[in-house]
Amino acid sequence: MSTLIRHGTVADDDWQWIEGDVTQLVERMEAGERLVLPLAVWLAHRLRRDPPRVGVWLGPDDPLEALLPWLADIPLVAIRFPLFTDGRGYSLARLLRCRYGYTGELRAVSDVLVDQLAVMAQCGFDSFGLRADQPPAEALAALVGGLRSPWPVIAMP
């Protein structure tokens, strides 16, 4: 089971993850489930959705720009790291937070490791779906209270 850390504490994940275009999506949305949809599905269903209950997840090369008109209503954007060494998600996070002013929950998911959490937080992530083998206590320490993580001398706005 993957641990979720949100705003500096271990939290329950109250979102249902949707990988592809599945059946009964509309029914599930209408039944009030909180779903996180892949970008393409999210775009296809955006007219039917109830904004506060539907999140979206992006792969590293998804065109973030497609989301911009609706950004203010989206409660959760998750960015998938297929490999922890794939740094594209960092740019997506910076763009969402700094350029497009996204203020909802921004979650890193998939190959999310303890040693990258502080840097992810610096890029604007505020929740983390850890890879299953990552110890929650160490993850918390990396974010709050443990070793201070080094901070760049000149940080871009």
């Binding site: 740094g87 594209r88 040693d115 070793l147 760049p152 001398v153």
Partner: protein
């Protein structure tokens, strides 16, 4: 020189503590090899053929005497008493122990040094002209800009996992002594007609297996936009650079795939968001940085000091050293001195702890405590009064660092090759030694004049073989070491890549091949024409015919 502020010091100390924790978790099995690898690389730690290697950053090649002493101390306590200065103004310690790396980093932090981002797929150590601020032809000192970019790029969170390594170089103009067109980004000083300060920006240069000369992406970038613009380039690269094949992951491939125009359009679109915004560098920041590097304290010194003139007239050896190892300084009565790390038989770029301590002392006595590392793998004392040259020469001779060969054939550039590097196809150090031994007659070397020979042990090109007038590349043929020779490479403002002259050679043949090439030059040169100019005028055929006996 720059002195760390609290934020810099805190960064390096926090980093040491963080890496110590990571190392402990690695050693007791809580952190896997695969997860640890990029972390150690971003702290300069490689695992090499015999032992781990630690690469320490010397930002833009500027060192203070107390820092060099610390490097000597580290060489003694943690290595086998020496270090290797590289073409990228880093120093490598070849025999460290993995578990001691955090202690070494802690030692470095006490003298405002670190090994952060000297490896890995991130923005690497910034390099520049070793003659910055003292060269007479310079437009302005590039180091304040290097320092600003260093501060921004060190742990810039967005750019720690790029598709591949990323190298930035600055040059202060007019001559390019930093090979800016062979970097992922090169910045070349420009002053606009209205007096504004800025840079011409080159992008997509690099050597390695696909060598390319960087191309101009902006003729003039005003200095206050440096970070905004670099961020735009890096972001386009981070998002769109190839990650499926590490041999095609450098920015040069992206630029080629998108075309320069296409790439430039993407960068302009990115930059449009930040241009003129809060990421602009303020005048106050420039003033503060310039103050760190400015030197107004040159005591008046005579260019025609009688003691110096007497030594010139009295000693041929001294005069020769002055001719090759002493360069013009912008201040009257001062000189720039290059201490040669190219003594015959010593691996190019290697210095012992005793030599490092000795150089630190010479720097304190004669060069305001400052040392530079050149990308030709020598050490430079940038502020020497001419009257001190005889005493400095004696001191350098005592250290074995006064070989009068700067810019000559035996001042060759060479990577560690198969003796240390696990990627190597062939050894390079013994071949360098054979060349130095064969051509150690000073009269002959002086007669040959300026000549750059560069050697790499594999296609990664750490020894810059593509831009040597003569380049030597180690290749593997059926598990044997062979060497391919290129001719006609050149760095600087007329940068070109050398071309292969023909089939490769066994190690033992290389000195003869070099001798053949030199013979053609000596036979064919015009009065005053240097080697590379003769090569360009004649083309390769005459050289090939001599080397291969007309068989090619």
């Amino acid at each position: 020189m720059y002195r760390y502020k609290q934020a810099d010091q805190r960064l390096v100390e926090d980093r040491v503590a963080q890496f110590r924790d990571q190392m402990t978790r690695f050693l007791d099995g809580r952190l896997g090899e695969h997860e640890f690898r990029p972390l150690r690389l971003q702290n300069g730690l490689y695992v090499q053929r015999h032992a781990p290697m630690l690469r320490v950053a010397i930002p833009y090649g500027t060192l203070a005497a107390y820092q060099l002493r610390k490097l000597a101390d580290i060489a003694r306590r943690f290595d086998r008493g020496y270090g290797h200065f590289t073409t990228r103004s880093n120093i490598q310690f070849n025999w460290v122990r993995l578990e001691e790396a955090p202690d070494i980093l802690a030692e470095l932090a006490t003298v405002q040094m670190h090994a952060i981002q000297t490896s890995g797929n991130c923005i690497r150590n910034i390099t520049t002209d070793p003659f910055a601020a003292v060269a007479a032809d310079e437009l302005f000192d590039p180091r304040p800009y290097c320092e600003i970019v260093r501060q921004w790029s060190t742990l810039a969170p967005e750019f720690l996992f790029l598709p591949r390594k990323f190298k930035i170089a600055f040059a202060g103009g007019a001559e390019d002594r930093a090979a800016v067109r062979f970097h992922d980004i090169g910045a070349f000083a420009r002053v606009a007609d209205d007096g504004r300060i800025g840079f011409e920006i080159f992008v997509g240069g690099g050597l390695g297996r696909t060598p390319m000369v960087g191309r101009t992406i902006r003729d003039f970038l005003p200095r206050e936009e440096l970070l905004n613009y670099f961020e735009a380039i890096l972001r386009v690269y981070n998002r769109h650079g190839r990650r499926d094949n590490k041999y095609k992951a450098r920015i040069k491939i992206l630029v080629k795939d998108l075309t320069l125009e296409g790439f430039s359009r993407e960068v302009e679109e990115e930059w449009a968001w930040t241009r003129g915004g809060p990421g602009c560098i303020s005048d106050a920041t420039f003033r503060e940085m310039e103050a760190f590097f400015a030197r107004h304290d040159y005591a008046p010194a005579a260019a025609d000091d009688p003691g110096y003139l007497a030594a010139l007239a009295g000693s041929r050896a001294f005069a020769r050293w002055v001719e090759r190892n002493v360069s013009a300084h912008r201040e009257l009565g001062y000189a720039v001195v290059t201490l040669s790390l190219k003594k015959t038989g010593v691996p190019p770029g290697d210095a012992t702890a005793e030599q490092m301590d000795g150089v630190a002392e010479l720097a304190e006595r004669f060069s305001a405590g400052e040392i530079r590392v050149s990308h030709e793998q020598n050490l430079v004392l940038p502020h020497v009064a001419r009257r001190d040259l005889p005493a400095l020469w004696e001191g350098a001779r005592a250290l074995g660092m006064a070989t009068p060969n700067i810019g000559l054939l035996t001042d060759l550039v060479c990577c560690p090759g198969g003796d240390f590097c696990s990627l190597a196809n062939a050894r390079s150090i013994p071949v360098a030694a054979a060349i130095q031994q064969r051509f150690d007659d000073l009269d002959y070397l002086f007669d040959l004049g300026p000549l750059e020979l560069n050697m790499s042990g594999c296609v990664n090109a750490c020894g810059h073989h593509h831009i040597g007038h003569i380049g030597i590349l180690g290749v593997d043929k059926n598990n044997e070491e062979w060497y391919q020779v290129t001719l006609g490479g050149r760095e600087g403002s007329q940068a070109v890549l050398g071309r292969v002259i023909g089939p490769s050679f066994a190690a033992g043949e290389i000195p003869d091949v070099i001798a053949d090439l030199l013979e053609v030059y000596v036979d064919e040169r015009h009065e005053g024409e240097i080697f590379i100019d003769t090569v360009e005028r004649l083309g390769l055929d005459a050289f090939k015919a001599r080397v291969y006996g007309g068989a090619v």
